[in-house]
Symmetry: C2
Subunit: 247 residues, 2 copies
């Protein structure tokens, strides 16, 4: 019953990391066993969970230094494989390798016992993101309801199509998650309407509202579920976890 989900959006700052952290934490509080892979050389997810950036990382795993199991650290009962800048060099060295798109998939195939594996992706559709997609069953696209955010949707769709026809016959977009939503702005409703009319991609029911607690939590090395459990952002992510688990 394991499902591997990539959190993807090549547009920057669309709440990918915030969603990876809080979705994982919310799922665990619903009794799920969850593994999160920090797959961004920026290492933001690792920072959000208060993980030491200088230990073993996913780059060491993909290089073959250690097994994935041995790279796992635990925070808030979430299992995490950290990342740091060494992942950027790893990506460059991978470019020349045969089967370069399958390195993450092969590593994830060595572990079992998880209900969900979540992969936090960088703001690009380069080789790292391709590895994440090839290794995944489904994709969640966190999106700001902004004009500039619409720009990237076509590219995400065509990337998934290419992966479907070459490497991973069954990956699909589970849905778009509107994040940093502000219901007072007309723009949010307009962008949402535009997506429903022009794209054949499901929109989740859940909405993640803008809430300062979500951006404060990382400085305490905690998810917002743990840092501010009664806040809007904690409630929103718990709703989203329930919606996702029921699908």
């Amino acid at each position: 019953m394991k499902e591997t989900i990539s959190i993807v959006n090549q547009k920057g700052g669309t709440g990918k990391t915030t969603t990876s952290v809080n979705l994982a934490s919310a799922m665990v509080s619903e009794g799920m066993r969850v593994l999160v892979i920090d797959f961004d050389p920026q290492g933001n997810l690792s920072y959000c969970f208060g993980v030491d950036p200088d230990g073993d990382t996913i780059a060491n795993v993909l290089k073959g230094d250690i097994s994935l199991k041995d790279a796992i650290v635990v925070s808030e009962s979430v299992h995490i494989v950290p990342a740091n800048i060494s992942l950027a060099d790893l990506e460059i060295s991978l470019v020349a390798e045969i089967g370069r798109e399958f390195y993450l998939k092969k590593a994830l195939d060595t572990v079992e016992g998880y209900d969900y594996i979540i992969i936090d992706c960088p703001p690009s559709l380069s080789l790292l993101a391709i590895n994440a997609l090839v290794a995944s069953d489904a994709v969640v696209v966190p999106m700001q309801m902004e004009v500039m955010s619409l720009q990237g949707l076509n590219q995400i769709q065509s990337t998934i199509q290419k992966i479907n026809s070459s490497y991973n016959k069954s990956i699909y977009i589970k849905g778009i998650l509107p994040v940093m939503v502000d219901h007072r702005r007309n723009l949010d409703g307009e962008v949402e309407g535009f997506i429903k009319e022009n794209y054949n991609i499901p929109l989740f029911e859940s909405r993640i509202r803008t809430n300062v607690r979500a951006s404060e939590a990382p400085s305490f090395g905690k998810s917002v579920i743990s840092y501010a459990p009664k806040s809007n952002s904690a409630m929103d992510y718990i709703n989203f976890a329930s919606e996702l688990i029921k699908l």
Copy 2:
């Protein structure tokens, strides 16, 4: 008197493109001759200026198909070299080339007559960003006053130091520009204070406040200076342009 400025931040969604578009437009309204290079395969800057994404782009220039001069299009009196997804393939093909860090610099050396050249960079510190830095006199770092944004500052500093010691002896960070500022939030003031105490990087006087007009403008293919000249964001960018020109 030409100065080439890279708009850099490997953290996503920190207002790099919004700053590149509106700084360029504001400088032109102050009588400057400005060239902007869209250097992100997402092509957001090109979209913001209403430029056709399927014409000649900076990728064609770097491949040697056409001269930089012939790739220039004009919008709001700003000279623009567009970009689209072909820049991503160009980056990959550049990895193996000798002198791969100097391709943009060589292209920019073929034009003259500009007071400022502005380069809009992608959310990464990969080969494209390195080309931009090697070609630049100075760097502006637009930053949200958020905990997660602080994460990247060390990396930017060490990247600039490495470039100084290898390729471009004189590039420096002109300053950090706080963007999407919300004075009602305590977090903004705390992050600003943290930067002043812990980093030896200048903070500009100007502040770019959060203002929905800035995010509406792109759907009209205009800068916010042109779309909503009396809005807070237009005023803030005009202030910033004056501050920069006087430095």
